[in-house]
Symmetry: C2
């Protein structure tokens, strides 16, 4: 099992070819030869990109079949999604509004706290 | 307005110090001097990281106040979230199950299509 890190995942995704490979794999698992076809690059160059993606935990290569198909590996994508979760209220408008609403509630709560202590028993 | 790119955003986020700066800014806007305090690095080194984050559209610096506070800029984070959306079914189990269910529905639809044409008029 590869140890995942956000450093490796973000670094791997900073390259447009590697994101294009991932987009192709979203359609289904495939061989390196198939993957290389739409790109104007050699098979070894594609293999190098695949190794970066594999080390970052973004793809996995089957060892069962002789043609060693590549597929998307969800673990690192999930890690990024969780990381992004901390920042969602900054760009998700509905969450932003919820945040404002909760802050307003808290402010009101603070204002009327003395009278509401009975509710908490 | 800086032109945003996923390359720049992912590349900026591949560094743990820059992610830590972003985590600090999630608590509220602050000055470069304040930001630098918890890090064992010089002010120019922190400024360099801020420039990378700013160019990637991940933070913005106010030009109004003389102390030029930094704050999180949502645009690039939102772009990453949208990009991630294409892959969500690979790591979101509930979406994965929905995907399986829709595929099953489509397969059934194909199997009974000839008998159901009346429903479509």
């Amino acid at each position: 099992m590869v140890k995942l890190s956000l450093d490796a995942a973000f670094s791997a995704l900073a390259d447009p070819t590697r994101r294009a490979i991932l987009a192709r794999l979203a359609l289904g698992e495939t061989s390196v030869t198939e993957l290389a076809k739409p790109f104007a690059m050699s098979l070894p160059a594609v293999s190098k990109h695949l190794k970066v993606l594999e080390r970052a935990g973004l793809i996995a290569r089957s060892r069962a079949a002789q043609w060693r198909p590549c597929r998307i590996e969800p673990a690192a994508l999930k890690d990024i999604d969780e990381w992004l979760g901390y920042y969602r209220r900054f760009f998700d408008e509905s969450l932003g509004r919820l945040d404002d609403y909760l802050k307003k509630l808290q402010a009101n709560e603070r204002g009327t706290k003395d009278g509401n202590d009975d509710d908490k028993k």
